[in-house]
């Protein structure tokens, strides 16, 4: 048995959003690890920016020591809690898919800023010219990865890894802007179904703060 006193104290600092922080929250929940879910209101952020080494969120504090960057955090926790593949090669594939997912987000960004009203633009044009091509390009790859892995509800190996959660959350967010966007990727949707069927995750999704992103 692990003594509670031996466990580090964890504090996840992020905005009140799912975004790039959500994967780490779910890793805490899946592993049954207590953590402080510190959600910083957007208007307080400018004054607090200085506190955080890279000037960005999320930042994980482990016994007060800061780790910035969403995927560095997710990987650190995934390693701690056992959601990082069964060997080094699987771990590298998990990382590769996660980096590909982040590239996908970067390519979607110009669409998001228009869709969320943060920039001028024709939403339908942005969807056709930016979002749909980006989804096709990246999700063809994710679909193939899930299929090549045996269509077992995971992108890599035979156990849940952090990239299953990461991509599932992106699917959820984008589907809320553009319903049906992932109908052409059933094996990806099966990964999401498997993640969200885990009782602890199902419960979290029901009770977590409802945010736009």
């Amino acid at each position: 048995p692990v003594s509670l006193l031996a466990m580090p104290s964890y504090k996840l600092n992020y905005f009140d959003a799912r975004g790039l922080g959500e994967v780490s929250r779910q890793l805490f929940i899946l592993s049954g690890t207590p953590y402080e879910d510190n959600r910083i209101p957007k208007d307080q952020w400018p004054a607090l920016k200085e506190k955080y080494g890279f000037g960005t969120l999320p930042v994980l504090e482990v016994d007060g020591k800061q780790i910035p960057q969403s995927l560095a955090i997710a990987r650190y926790l995934a390693k701690e809690f056992g959601f990082y593949g069964a060997n080094a090669f699987e771990a590298a594939w998990v990382d590769a898919l996660a980096d590909q997912a982040k590239d996908f987000l970067s390519e979607m960004r110009p669409y998001f800023v228009i869709a969320m009203g943060m920039a001028e633009g024709d939403k339908d044009k942005a969807k056709a010219e930016i979002a749909l091509p980006a989804i096709k390009k990246h999700f063809d790859l994710f679909e193939k990865a899930a299929k090549d892995n045996g269509s077992n509800g995971h992108f890599v190996g035979s156990k849940l890894s952090y990239v299953d959660i990461l991509i599932s959350e992106f699917v959820f967010s984008i589907d809320s802007f553009m319903p049906g966007s992932f109908d052409a990727f059933p094996t990806v949707l099966a990964v999401r179904a498997k993640v969200t069927s885990i009782p602890a995750i199902k419960e979290w999704i029901e009770k977590r703060p409802k945010t736009v992103t």
Binding site: Q69, A72, A88, D95, A96, D99
Partner: protein, 223 residues
């Protein structure tokens, strides 16, 4: 006997094949990790039209990719991290590895910020490009530089200005940052002057004898 053990070890060593452009870019760190660890690898460099010809048949449609005994791995930093773990360039604790990762991702964010400046930078000596180069340098390059190199300076000082970004051993982020500084020194001399801690990192990392040997013998490309 001894020869049997040697044969077994040879058979256990993976066969590495690394495919990238004929350039340094985000592929160079993997090559450096192979060389620094005395690990043989096939260094495939695509030139001219070669990439466009094979792009649609390539594993993920982009470069680099690594083959390990024929098994494919894509994404530059997943490759770098995998090799760095095999060869011992990820720091000494999970926390150190996480900081190396965080700096790697911050480098990627910086790269994305710099993208609008890179093309005019590469083309600055072409007819009529000078004005665009100067404008993008001021509007894009300098703010992105100040933000990223500010972070690097802070972290380097926090780590004791000991020749490494993280801990007290060479990690893959040292290699990434210092190689990139070389690219910027080539295209925009003076761009990084004033970042004295980063000049210190650059000097100390480039003094690594094995790395210095690679830099001398590798194919010479501006970036």
């Amino acid at each position: 006997g001894v020869s049997q053990a040697t044969e077994e070890k040879k058979n256990m060593s993976p066969v590495y094949k690394f495919t990238y452009f004929h350039g340094r870019g985000i592929g160079e760190v993997a090559r450096q990790l192979f060389f620094l660890s005395d690990t043989p690898f096939e260094d495939v460099r695509l030139v001219g039209e070669e990439w466009m010809k094979i792009k649609d048949q390539s594993p993920w449609g982009h470069l680099p990719w690594l083959e390990i005994d024929g098994k494919v791995l894509c994404q530059s930093f997943a490759i770098a991290r995998y090799l760095a773990i095999q060869f011992g360039f990820v720091g000494k604790t999970p926390f150190e590895s996480a900081m190396v990762d965080a700096l790697g991702d911050q480098y990627k964010d910086y790269w994305n910020d710099m993208k609008p400046f890179f093309m005019p930078m590469y083309r600055q000596n072409m007819e009529g490009m000078k004005e665009e180069f100067e404008k993008k340098k001021k509007d894009v390059g300098e703010p992105a530089r100040d933000k990223f190199y500010g972070i690097l300076t802070k972290e380097y000082k926090k780590n004791g200005s000991n020749g490494h970004m993280v801990g007290d051993s060479l990690t893959w982020i040292d290699l990434v940052v210092v190689d990139h500084m070389g690219v910027m020194d080539h295209y925009v001399p003076g761009f990084l002057d004033g970042f004295e801690e980063m000049r210190d990192l650059q000097k100390k990392v480039n003094a690594n004898p094995k790395l210095a040997e690679w830099i001398k013998k590798r194919p010479h490309t501006p970036q």
